[in-house]
């Protein structure tokens, strides 16, 4: 009996040692925050915080290997060099980005859990999928803007959106458009239809789980149109399976100079997917500044710029306050679109 007890005690001791040695890396370690000292005059510097002291988790609320995931992984690789500590990507897909976003929203605002999100924060709120929107977070840096394009099967007879719109008006209910309901691709479809004077009775919207599935459906000619990007559809343009009808951008893309903008064709609609970094509300401004510096330096790195542009995205950096204003603008835009289309 004694032998058993003593062995158990030794075991516990060993365990304690092990636990002690590893506790330094435990995620429960508190981060120093500068003390609020009411007697400090504004000219006195606030205590510099020690951040980061351990790896930072970047939540990408989509599946690994997808367009958004790839962009954030690339940026993280360069940003972590500037930051000084590794940035570890965490994937948590679901609900068009809402599930992962919720996790970050409710996480500790110590700067060790950050979010890689995009306009879904606006669209999911408007659609009622999320009960929060971009202002449940602090904006850090806008990183990239990916212009969206209208894509059809190359066997289709239309060569421009106006031809499609005319055909759809003449044959209501015949054509279909694939999109992820409630997300930017849905708004894209609604925006163009609206600008062209069509309703969703004229062109059926088919819900798919994501961009890849929408593209596959158009490739197989089960659906007629969808939204895509250079990165997701470029190879099919090259192989001749799909064709771009138009791009929803202010000017023509360098990667696709033959594709007209919607504006040129008289359809006033500009839309892209804007990806950026967010942190939970109430995060210390110094942490935000450190993160912003790291990401801005990364976005200035010519190597990274080249890789991003090769994937069909444009580098579009904005600092925290500009990013916030940008989101406010976008929100108003999306609300307008949502209101004009009969749901």
């Amino acid at each position: 009996m004694k032998k058993r007890v003593s062995i158990l005690l030794i075991a516990l001791l060993v365990l304690n040692l092990m636990v002690g040695c590893t506790k330094q890396e435990s995620p429960a370690a508190p981060v120093e925050t500068p003390q609020e000292n009411p007697q400090t005059t504004p000219s006195e510097p606030v205590a510099k915080i020690d951040y980061p002291t351990k790896p930072v988790q970047l939540m990408v609320p989509w599946s690994p290997g997808g367009a958004t995931d790839v962009i954030f992984r690339l940026v993280a690789e360069y940003a972590q060099v500037e930051l000084g500590k590794p940035i570890v990507i965490l994937n948590q897909a679901g609900a068009g980005g809402t599930v992962g976003a919720t996790q970050v929203k409710d996480a500790a605002n110590d700067g060790y859990t950050i979010l890689g999100g995009h306009d879904h924060l606006i669209t999911s709120y408007i659609e009622g999928i999320a009960d929060f929107t971009y202002d449940a977070f602090e904006t850090v840096s806008l990183l990239t803007t990916t212009p969206n394009l209208m894509v059809v099967n190359s066997k289709a007879t239309w060569n421009s959106p106006t031809e499609f719109i005319a055909d759809a008006k003449a044959n209501p209910g015949k054509y279909s458009w694939a999109a992820s309901l409630g997300s930017t691709s849905h708004y894209f479809a609604l925006g163009i239809l609206n600008a062209g004077g069509l309703t969703t009775d004229d062109v059926r919207i088919v819900g798919t789980p994501g961009t890849n599935e929408s593209i596959t459906a158009v490739l197989g000619n089960h659906v007629n149109v969808c939204q895509a990007q250079i990165s997701t559809a470029g190879s099919y343009i090259e192989s001749g399976d799909l064709k771009f009808l138009a791009v929803a951008h202010e000017e023509r893309l360098s990667q696709a100079p033959d594709v007209p903008t919607l504006r040129e064709l008289g359809l006033n609609y500009v839309q892209g997917t804007n990806r950026g970094i967010f942190v939970p509300k109430g995060t210390d401004p110094q942490i935000i500044e450190i993160l912003d510096n790291a990401f801005r330096s990364a976005m200035e790195n010519p190597e990274l710029i080249e890789k991003i542009e090769n994937l069909g995205n444009n580098v579009n950096y904005k600092n925290p306050s500009d990013y916030y204003d940008f989101m406010v603008e976008q929100f108003e835009e999306m609300e307008k679109i949502s209101a004009t289309i009969s749901n």
């Binding site: 158990l8 075991a11 365990l15 092990m18 570890v88 059926r204 088919v206 819900g207």
Partner: protein, 144 residues
Amino acid sequence: MIKDLILGFGMAIFSIVSLLESRNLVSANKWDVFGPDGFPKIVAYILLALSIILIVSSLRKVNPAKNKFSLTKLEVVVLLSIIAYVLLLPVIGFLIATALFILSIQLLLTYNLKKTMISMVITSLVVTGSVYIVFEKFLNVNLP
């Protein structure tokens, strides 16, 4: 048989609950002919039908094969320890909880206490340690 009867009722309740809950779901709208509630409802109805068949058939069976659903004491203890283990995970951390868990289950299940004591302790420590290392270091998983 009683076992089947219980199962049948259990499944029936499950399907009825599902059906009731699906009423809260948004119904089919203009472009979504099926809607989020269509599929679950169909499946729940099928399940309900199947459970009724099961109930009916088990009532009709005159066979009094009354093998009760028996749960030995040891199994109950093991099951409870699993629950305790998971409850303790966030409290005392993965390392301690797992090591203790492995050790205590072994103690429960072994026949020859004295002979195997040392190997049991070693196993607990080694397994816990290696799982921890693999998951934390290689996988960047933050075990509690």
